[in-house]
């Protein structure tokens, strides 16, 4: 397969403006200027581009929500807060192909009539922030940012903002609150960001990878991009594969690849081990058992399998994994990262974390698995943002699909997968 998004990942020279241009960089933006905003939007719609941050929302449709009648500016906000556990593909783009993001941003900004964009970079991403900022400075010095770019009359500036270490600031309205200088609390909707977003203005929030695909879509056409994927989702995407595989890393593949093929590309589970379970789309995606991996990795394929494509963070677990312990780790994450604004998420993430901790400590009671399932199910769809719905994915799927392991822990006070290692490792968390 021809690498598209990852084509520059092993070419350090492409990180400079000169190198990026030598490989044809910024020609797509030139073409976009000729296409005009409506032409770009049409190509993006034809491309079947689905947002690659997690929700999988059609990008062209999202742009279309920006009101035609407006008085103030429109903002583009780039979500570079990549915080979904098991996901590290945006980091590759920021670090290894920063100009692809800038070019994508210019195309998007031109399409939605936006003169100022914000790049919200995860606080821990120091090197990506530095590399990207240098690239932006280079682009500005070369007149690719600023007023009247390439004599088009279109001007654009980029403001880079660093996060401060909160997962919830990757939720688009939490991100906007944080960007505005407030605590990173998601906003109650309506109004949606397209109507009232950053600083009260119509705002499009797009993921890094989503934007980085735009130069390719513009250069080679929406139909070409659509043809790479499935009927409802075009293109390739970057899969972050981690956990119990021989070669963890970022793999670019068409969205129609199956989970089994992807794991095989990463070298499969280590020799002598058996696959036990896989999280296909970042920590919030429901778990799949080893017998459920013959599934297409596109948004709709994974949805049909009862899980989600999410951020394409594939976490592989082999037969040395204690699922109650894995759930405890995930539950700790959600309890720690819940913003605390609305009641179901604030209270239940902590409650479930305490239950899983008690189970691992050998003090589980028989009702615990059902309590987890009941609490999780009751809270579905009851919160301000999708954070808690994301947490519910693992709560329910880990317990439902590996119920016996939970019951064993509760009955015997010890782990049957790693009789000597389980609880001790959990205690270290």
């Amino acid at each position: 397969m021809e690498p598209i998004l990852s084509r520059h990942f092993d070419r350090p020279e492409a990180r400079t403006l000169e190198g990026y241009r030598a490989a044809g960089g910024y020609e797509a933006f030139r073409k976009a200027l000729a296409l005009g905003p409506a032409g770009i939007a049409a190509e993006v719609k034809k491309a079947n581009l689905r947002g690659l941050g997690g929700a999988g929302f059609p990008t062209g449709t999202k742009w279309g929500f920006i009101p035609q009648k407006r008085t103030g500016p429109v903002y583009l906000v780039v979500n570079a807060d990549e915080g979904e556990p098991g996901t590290f593909k945006d980091r590759y783009i920021l670090e290894r192909d920063p100009h692809a993001l800038i070019e994508g941003m210019l195309i998007a900004a031109y399409a939605i009539d936006c003169q100022t964009s914000f790049v919200y970079i995860r606080g821990e991403y120091v090197r990506p922030w530095r590399v990207f900022s240098e690239a932006a400075a280079e682009a500005e010095a070369a007149g690719l940012l600023g007023p009247d770019i390439l004599g088009s009359g279109f001007g654009h500036r980029i403001i880079v903002h660093r996060g401060a270490g909160a997962y919830i600031c990757g939720e688009e309205t939490g991100l906007i609150s944080s960007l505005e200088g407030y605590k990173g609390w998601p906003k109650v909707k309506p109004p949606f960001p397209a109507i009232r977003g950053a600083f009260g203005q119509p705002t499009v929030v797009n993921n890094v990878e989503t934007l980085a695909t735009l130069p390719h879509i513009v250069a080679r056409g929406g139909e070409w991009f659509a043809g790479l994927g499935t009927k409802t989702q075009g293109g390739t995407r970057l899969y972050s594969v981690s956990g119990h595989v021989v070669r963890p890393g970022v793999y670019e593949a068409p969205v129609s690849i199956t989970l089994r093929e992807l794991i095989e590309r990463a070298g499969g589970v280590p020799p002598g081990r058996r696959l036990k379970a896989v999280v296909p789309g970042g920590a919030s995606a429901p778990l799949l058992r080893a017998d459920e991996i013959d599934v297409s990795m596109d948004v709709d394929g994974l949805r049909a399998a009862g899980t989600m494509a999410g951020s394409a963070g594939v976490i592989v677990m082999d037969d040395t994994t204690c699922i109650p312990e894995a759930l405890h780790v995930v539950a700790r994450f959600y309890a720690h990262e819940s913003c605390g604004q609305c009641t179901p998420c604030r209270e239940c993430t902590g409650w479930i974390y305490r239950i899983t901790g008690r189970i691992l400590a050998g003090k589980g009671v028989p009702a615990d698995p059902d309590t987890i399932l009941d609490v999780a199910r009751r809270g579905a769809g009851s919160t301000i943002c999708a954070f808690y719905d994301g947490a519910i994915g693992p709560y329910i799927s880990y317990v439902e699909k590996f119920r016996a392991e939970f019951d064993h822990h509760i009955r015997h006070g010890a782990c049957d997968v790693r009789p000597n290692g389980g609880p001790a490792r959990a205690a270290g968390h």
């Binding site: 109650v188 604004q341 604030r346 209270e347």
Partner: protein, 540 residues
């Protein structure tokens, strides 16, 4: 106007009305914690879920604006089940310390648990611990464990006082209400956060542990703290008299009035009720015209005063009325002193020693609750800026009887030495009021007045709104309403005045003073009504 149905009943509401308010108009209560009609929407508690036709899952009512043709159901099985769950989640980390919580009895966790919770508790894990009994300001105590993080108090300080002292710190179930480092909750309206706190997280340092709320009696009233006339409720402790150090009035709470104070009141007004049960209260008439001052009966006091008034004559008599007297009392004072006795030295204006506090929210610099009423009754020395000509006349020896109502003229904006000189030259200084002060100490005759909570009447506020207040407790000692005192003196002077109720005096006032024409005591209701011309003036 959008027309919608709620639980099958049709209602039309003004555009922009949310579903909680629309339902309220039908008498349907949608339970909620974070929503408050005076504050921006937070959507955080998730208790106000309702089902809306063609909406896949329950939706919060507070952030949903009523739309034409909307069909809302507030009691579907899944809504009731979700409410039960949300109640469970609100309570899993709550300390359940109702027996020692001051909020018990008026706590919305208790009320809603009984109405919408009633689940079997299943939380067996340790609760999250947070700071308790933290004094976050002069008036407010915080118990962060009881807090349900509805953010009403935060939004109040952000949007109403715009002082922003409060914040919610940390994340998840460690989220915690607190003051920002280096600040305290000391804005002039801090007590309101206690009112709007639906639980026992913010309690009133003045009121806490004084009395259980179910022993309290309530009366509607008007704050006498300034000319704004905020609508209040007076809460009294009369069933457990050994509680609250014997104080009868234990707290004041704001009462909603859209035209005056909405939901709020200032701290000055809220905590300004200390004089009501203070040791300085004057409880019986005293006479000291013939040597040492001693207790007297009302009849004896009225008879001696009638005698002295006759002797002094209209030229030798001067009266400093109080702009804190209700309209009815000022009306009778005018009839007695101006009409019957012909006194011309009559005024209500004594400058304060220091200018009163004021802001653009509620507080008015003029601390007199009925200044406007006194002005409308024309109780002023013609051509003077304040009542000083009366004191000047007294200094010149022209006043034999000086009747002071409510004021401490020795502690005013007037030079104390000149005032003392003036008081020294009158033969008979009468002090009529609720509490002892420097002026009462020098009086030859002291007449104890009933305080505003001990009687009924009306005040006219700074905008010309006439508002009723009701009696909360009986007068202390032998104190009487001021109008009763004036009537008693009038009878001693030979007039057959027997007003029985404030309402009767108000009727006379409405007939006698053009500004009050058309108003009726009953018609004022509990929200008041403007005097003639007040509306036009407010519009200007």
């Amino acid at each position: 106007m959008p027309k919608l149905t709620i639980d099958g009943r049709e209602i039309e509401v003004p555009p922009g009305t949310n579903l909680i308010e629309a339902a309220r108009q039908l008498g349907i209560e949608i339970p909620h914690y974070c929503y408050h009609p005076g504050l921006p929407i937070a959507g955080a508690c998730r208790l106000c879920m309702v089902d809306i036709e063609r909406t896949p899952r329950p939706t919060i009512a507070c952030n949903t604006v009523a739309a034409d043709g909307m069909a809302v159901e507030t009691r579907t099985p899944r809504v009731l089940e979700l409410r039960r769950s949300v109640m469970e989640w609100h309570l899993i980390n709550h300390p359940l310390d109702c027996p020692v919580c001051d909020q018990a009895g008026e706590c919305w966790l208790q009320i809603y648990y009984m109405q919408h919770g009633l689940y079997e508790p299943r939380m067996i894990d340790d609760k999250v611990h947070k700071p308790k009994a933290v004094p976050i300001g002069r008036h407010v105590m915080l118990d962060a464990e009881r807090c349900i993080l509805c953010s009403r108090c935060v939004r109040f300080c952000d949007t109403i006082t715009r002082t922003g002292e409060l914040g919610i710190f940390n994340r998840g179930d460690h989220s915690e209400l607190g003051v920002f480092p280096g600040t305290t909750l000391d804005n002039p309206y801090s007590g309101n956060v206690v009112d709007i706190c639906p639980v026992g997280a913010l309690t009133d340092r003045d009121f806490r542990f004084q009395a259980r709320v179910w022993y309290l009696d309530r009366a509607k009233s008007i704050c006498p703290g300034c000319a704004r006339g905020c609508n209040i409720e007076v809460h009294t402790n009369q069933k457990r008299t050994h509680h609250a150090q014997g104080r009868r009035v234990v707290r004041l709470k704001p009462r909603f009035n859209a035209a005056v104070n909405r939901w709020w009141m200032c701290d000055e007004g809220r905590y300004g009720f200390g004089d009501l049960d203070a040791p300085t209260r004057l409880e019986r008439p005293e006479l000291g015209l013939d040597g040492a001052r001693g207790a007297a009966t009302w009849d004896a006091a009225a008879a001696r005063l009638a005698e002295r008034l006759r002797a002094a004559g209209p030229e030798g008599t001067a009266v400093l009325l109080s702009p804190a007297l209700p309209n009815e009392d000022l009306w009778l004072a005018r009839r007695l002193f101006a009409d019957a006795l012909g006194v011309r030295r009559l005024d209500h204006r004594v400058p304060p020693r220091e200018p009163g506090s004021a802001d653009d929210l509620l507080r008015v610099a003029d601390k007199a609750p009925n200044r406007r009423g006194a002005e409308l009754l024309g109780l002023e020395v013609a051509g003077a800026a304040d009542g000083w000509p009366i004191l000047e006349a007294a200094r010149a020896g022209a006043v034999r009887l000086l009747w002071v109502v409510g004021h401490d003229v020795l502690d005013s904006g007037w030079p104390a030495d000149l005032v003392a000189e003036a008081l020294g030259r009158v033969d008979c200084l009468v002090y009529q009021g609720t509490n002892a002060n420097g002026t009462s100490a020098r009086a030859h005759c002291v007449l104890p007045s009933a305080a505003y909570v001990e009687r009924e009447g009306t005040f006219t506020n700074v905008d010309g709104r006439v508002q009723r207040f009701w009696r909360a407790v009986l007068p202390r000692g032998e104190a009487r309403a001021d109008w009763e005192i004036f009537a008693a003196v009038a009878r001693a002077l030979g007039h057959d005045w027997r007003p029985r109720r404030a309402e009767q005096l108000f009727r006379e006032l409405a007939e006698g003073v053009p500004a009050f024409a058309g108003l009726s005591y009953a018609g004022l209701g509990d929200q008041g009504a403007p005097v003639a011309g007040a509306v036009a003036e407010a519009a200007r």
